[in-house]
């Protein structure tokens, strides 16, 4: 469903993402791991069509992001990293606007908005102004706009940041329930989250792909995800030496 082939993203002389290749089949929930500044958000931004790749091909549902951006965007629900929202709108007003933008037929809008509001636990907040909501609820609004219109692909950039433990459990359960029908790419810093939710895992470090495979199973003796992560990150540093990639410092 998501195909990334030798994709490179440069910011001036810096290679934020360096020739990475991976494929995520339909219905799979994939965890996207890496240390800070590894290029996770940049990769997600390229897949969603927010920033173009410098080199390489990105395809979603067999549509090339560069040549058919609209077809790709119709199929993606995206939760950006810092959850930007229109502060002055109410939750239901905002979702109504997103439903219009996503061209959900007028007679299905009310029902669809009701569905995502309920699913994200926003029922009590529907009439509140977004700017007055707490971080956890803002996160849910961000998630709700991504889910609106039931897109087959979901790109979620750190969806559980800023939530309380109960909300984290709820969101994880929700994402897990999305698998099968939806293809999900989920970035996170919390390793147990990947073990709990994801079917497979991709680890990138300093813009390079260092692991792409199944989530290791502790019982089968292949070691924990944490060990795998540490090994992958350390191995890459030793063979590549010093490289300057700092995603966080550069605004696209």
């Amino acid at each position: 469903m998501i195909e990334v082939v030798e994709m490179t993203k440069r910011y001036g002389p810096l290679r934020a993402v360096d020739s990475i290749t991976f494929t995520i089949p339909k219905g799979r929930i994939t965890g996207f791991l890496g240390p800070n500044g590894a290029g996770k958000s940049t990769t997600m931004r390229v897949i969603t069509g927010f920033t173009p790749a410098s080199e390489g091909i990105v395809r979603v549902a067999d549509f090339d992001v560069a040549s058919h951006p609209l077809e790709v965007k119709r199929r993606i629900g995206y939760l950006p990293e810092h959850v930007p929202l229109y502060e002055e709108m109410t939750v239901s007003g905002f979702l109504g606007f997103v439903a219009g933008v996503k061209q959900i037929p007028r007679n299905e809008r009310r029902e669809e908005i009701g569905r995502v509001i309920e699913r994200c636990g926003l029922t009590a907040m529907a009439r509140r102004i977004i700017g007055n909501l707490s971080k956890g609820y803002r996160q849910r609004v961000g998630l709700a706009q991504a889910l609106l219109g039931n897109p087959p692909v979901l790109i979620l950039d750190e969806p559980t940041v800023g939530l309380d433990p109960r909300q984290i459990a709820e969101v994880r359960a929700m994402i897990k329930a999305l698998g099968g029908e939806h293809t999900v790419l989920l970035s996170t810093h919390i390793l147990p989250e990947v073990v709990m939710v994801c079917d497979s895992v991709i680890i990138i470090h300093r813009g390079r792909l260092v692991y792409d495979g199944a989530v290791p199973d502790v019982q089968s003796g292949s070691g924990s995800l944490e060990e795998l992560f540490m090994r992958a990150v350390a191995a890459d540093v030793s063979d590549r030496g010093e490289r300057a990639t700092a995603e966080e410092e550069i605004e696209p």
């Binding site: 927010f50 173009p52 965007k73 119709r74 929202l85 229109y86 002055e88 709108m89 219009g100 933008v101």
Partner: protein, 277 residues
């Protein structure tokens, strides 16, 4: 078309979810009203005793009152338009919502036209004030309805051009304040240039004693410079239009001005595709 409308509606409503819309409309109505009342008083004083004010007879109502008033309303919009345009794209970029906007199934056309139309909506909301004033004026001295319509349309044309310029500046700025200040500065410079241009002497500035060829070159450059200063500013083309003199090149000037900066706004938004490649 539906998506343009969706973007436009959100943008337009959000003018009134923040104080911006009310402030812009209120200030515009207040200052236009003051200007109208003051110019009406002035005109009535002049018409009672024309010689005291240097007139030989009672000055023409349209020329002395209506046209300057409408040009003033257009110029006033020059100073209020940054309030309307500064947020259009700079705020999206600053808040990060541009990331949402550009990853939703929208084209650049939906975004640019949607936002421009919302700003134009604000402009149109200001026009009933002018129409009311002109209607009141026609109570004193009959005005042709067509002249009233053309007068308001002239201010709208000026507004279309100004909003387009403002949106372009908003598209290249990272913060609202920068966009607003820059737009204000550009408008002010344009206004000053127009005033300076009118006061520049027509004759060749090169001294008589200089060689003929050199004088001709300097004269040509001077003429071009003077022409730019008098023709380029936004209020220059409004004077005849507000008098009811309909000339295609004045209208074309405003429409081309607006189209040009809309075009640049598209390019500015598109720059994400090639910047940092």
């Amino acid at each position: 078309m539906n998506r343009i409308w969706t973007v436009c509606r959100r943008e337009f409503i959000s003018y009134f979810q923040t104080p911006v819309g009310y402030v812009a409309l209120g200030v515009y109505a207040l200052i236009c009203g003051l200007a109208f009342v003051l110019s009406l008083f002035m005109y009535s004083k002049v018409s009672i005793q024309p010689p005291a004010y240097g007139y030989t007879s009672i000055p023409n109502f349209g020329e002395a009152l209506i046209s300057p008033y409408l040009v003033f309303c257009g110029i006033l919009f020059m100073f209020l338009s940054p309030l309307i345009t500064m947020r259009l794209l700079a705020e999206e970029r600053n808040r990060g919502t541009l990331e949402l906007l550009l990853t939703w199934p929208l084209t650049d056309r939906d975004i640019v036209f949607g936002k421009y139309l919302a700003a134009v909506g604000m402009l149109l909301l200001m026009m009933p004030v002018l129409a009311l004033h002109l209607f009141l004026a026609s109570w004193f001295r009959p005005l042709e309805p067509a002249a009233i319509a053309l007068g308001v349309a002239t201010v709208v044309l000026m507004g279309l051009a100004l909003l387009s310029l403002g949106m372009f500046i908003s598209a290249i700025s990272r913060s609202q304040v920068v966009a607003g200040t820059l737009t204000f500065g550009v408008n002010l410079v344009m206004y000053i240039a127009g005033n300076v241009g009118e006061k520049l002497p027509q004759r060749n500035p090169a001294p008589e004693g200089w060689p003929e060829a050199l004088r001709r070159v300097i004269g040509g450059v001077w003429e071009l410079f003077r022409g730019l200063l008098t023709q380029l500013p936004l209020d220059a083309h409004a004077r005849d239009l507000t008098l009811g003199v309909l000339r295609p090149h004045d209208i074309a000037y405003y429409l081309l001005f607006a189209a040009f900066f809309l075009f640049l706004t598209f390019r500015a938004l598109e720059s994400r595709h090639w910047r940092g490649k």
